[in-house]
């Protein structure tokens, strides 16, 4: 599964399971926020990615994140 900020790019090269990240230079933790907040976001999105691996899909799918 792919974690990417540029979902349109991931789609056009053919990724099937995608979880969005927050930016190109720092996909999983905004340096403007606290270390705790960064970890929280990273933990959440990696968790979504792990769940995506166990999810049956029929077409290219972008999994929703909450934070």
């Amino acid at each position: 599964m792919q974690m990417a900020n540029l979902i349109p790019v991931a789609k056009s090269v053919g990724a099937n399971r995608m979880v969005p990240t927050i930016s190109i230079p720092y996909p999983l933790g905004d340096p403007a926020t606290s270390k705790e907040q960064q970890f929280k976001l990273r933990y959440h999105r990696v968790g979504v990615a792990l769940d995506a691996l166990t999810t049956d899909i029929q077409e290219q799918t972008v999994f929703k994140v909450k934070i």
């Binding site: 349109p8 790019v9 930016s23 190109i24």
Partner: protein, 441 residues
């Protein structure tokens, strides 16, 4: 808004006792010019060299190109950058044509710097081999970035702008040889004839992807990373409101000279009142997060729609992830019913087999393409090198490399070079000069 560009056509450049322009001959007092360069104490060493089309000279690392100009009535040629903030695009500006100030690092280059061959087979790869150039070769004490691949090049770029202002000022009391007039009535005050024509906007996506300040293109001195798309009069762009930045592989970059002479803007002016009604420029930007890219596209489409645009031209300064901004913008415009043509270069790889843009959409069905950034170029040694040839290999120029198991170094022992088009100074000329295109083999 009415801009008069008063032109002086430089036929030759020489050094001499007094900086002056007389009947096509531009004379530069080198000492005086270098004193202007060294007004900034960060410039530690500096020299000036004159190069002309056909000279067997290789320039590298080239950081910037600027057209020497002078603003009649006072004021900086780059408001908010080289002087106080003021409205650009109105009144009269004088320009020394067919020449540019080129800024070259005496030793150190970076990702964003490029190469120019003034003569020989390499000359065709950049626009600047056709110009007579005053080359500023200099070094600085900016130790924090000396060995960094990404350089702001601030002292050198600003020195180039000061030099262009100094040289331009030698025609301040003279009548220009020709005058080009650029004038558009306010959007709601156009003639019936103009209003009957298809309404066209030009959308520009200048380079603004560094989140740290100091690397991006500036709009009236404002970092383009910190803006959302805005509506501008095209005269502002060609009269010094925009300056080039110091980020992005070089063949994709738009130099300050490119902004000052923006061929696509001038071409739209030519059609204005004949085949189109040129509404103006939507100045967008390029971003590093999908949400930012989509936000910019949303602003552009709304603005085009509110202005009543029937058609748009979208041009991007860059490739790679900026293609996502480019395609998102075209798709948003098409979805808003604005018929859009894209203007870009491609990255199809050294083998030509890669996907041309990293994002694609079938709505982007009208694209003019200006070249392949990763085309491989091999050039023979050059008699004279200005700057430092090793910078191409050593300093991480986007089209150079220090070591490759098969190809060796970009700079060979005999002084010949092997590089990607990526490092050709503003080589893809997406601003509109390009006579290159892409075809399938």
């Amino acid at each position: 808004m009415k801009l008069e560009l008063g032109n002086f056509f430089v036929q030759d450049i020489v050094f001499g006792a007094q900086t002056a322009y007389v009947e096509g001959i531009l004379t530069i007092n080198k000492e005086e010019a270098l004193a202007v360069v060294k007004e900034d104490e960060h410039i530690t060493e500096a020299d000036l060299v004159i190069v002309k089309p056909g000279d067997m000279v290789r320039l590298v690392p080239v950081k910037e190109a600027i057209e020497p100009r002078h603003r009649i009535g006072g004021g900086p040629i780059f408001p908010g950058v080289t002087g106080d903030l003021m409205q650009a695009g109105n009144g009269r500006t004088l320009a020394l044509k067919d020449c540019s100030v080129l800024v070259v690092g005496q030793h150190w280059g970076g990702f964003q710097d490029g190469l120019i061959d003034m003569g020989g087979e390499g000359a065709k790869y950049t626009y600047y081999s056709q110009l007579k150039n005053i080359v500023l070769v200099a070094d600085t004490d900016e130790e924090f970035e000396r060995y960094e691949q990404q350089k702001k090049n601030r002292a050198l770029r600003w020195a180039g702008m000061r030099l262009a202002e100094y040289i331009g000022s030698c025609v301040k009391d003279m009548e220009p040889e020709t005058v080009e007039t650029y004038e558009l009535a306010p959007v709601t005050k156009r003639t019936a004839e103009e209003n009957a024509l298809p309404n066209v906007v030009l959308v520009l996506q200048p380079q603004s992807q560094m989140e740290e300040l100091g690397y991006n293109d500036l709009l009236y001195g404002w970092d383009c990373n910190r803006m959302v798309p805005t509506f501008m009069h095209p005269n502002e762009v060609i009269d010094g409101a925009m300056i080039s930045g110091s980020f992005m592989p070089c063949s994709s970059k738009w130099s300050t000279y490119d902004f000052q002479n923006f061929p696509m803007i001038k071409r739209l002016y030519q059609e204005h009142g004949k085949t189109i009604n040129f509404l103006g420029v939507i100045m967008s930007n390029l971003n590093v997060a999908l949400e930012q890219k989509n936000r910019a596209a949303l602003f552009v489409a709304q603005m085009a729609k509110s202005l009543g645009a029937d058609a748009a031209v979208v041009a991007e300064e860059g490739y790679g992830n900026p293609d996502a901004d480019f395609i998102a913008c075209i798709v948003a415009l098409e979805d808003a019913g604005v018929k859009t043509v894209g203007l870009t270069n491609e990255c199809t790889g050294r083998d030509g087999a890669s996907q041309p843009l990293v994002a694609l959409d079938e709505k982007a069905n009208a694209i003019v393409s200006c070249g392949n950034v990763s085309e491989m170029i091999i050039l023979p040694p050059m008699e004279t090198v200005i700057g430092e040839l090793q910078s191409l290999a050593r300093d991480g120029l986007s089209g150079g490399w220090n070591h490759d198991a098969i190809l060796g170094s970009s700079v060979r022992e005999d002084g010949s070079i092997i590089m990607e088009n990526n490092a050709m100074f503003c080589g893809d000329q997406v601003v509109g000069w390009s006579t290159k295109t892409m075809v399938e083999f």
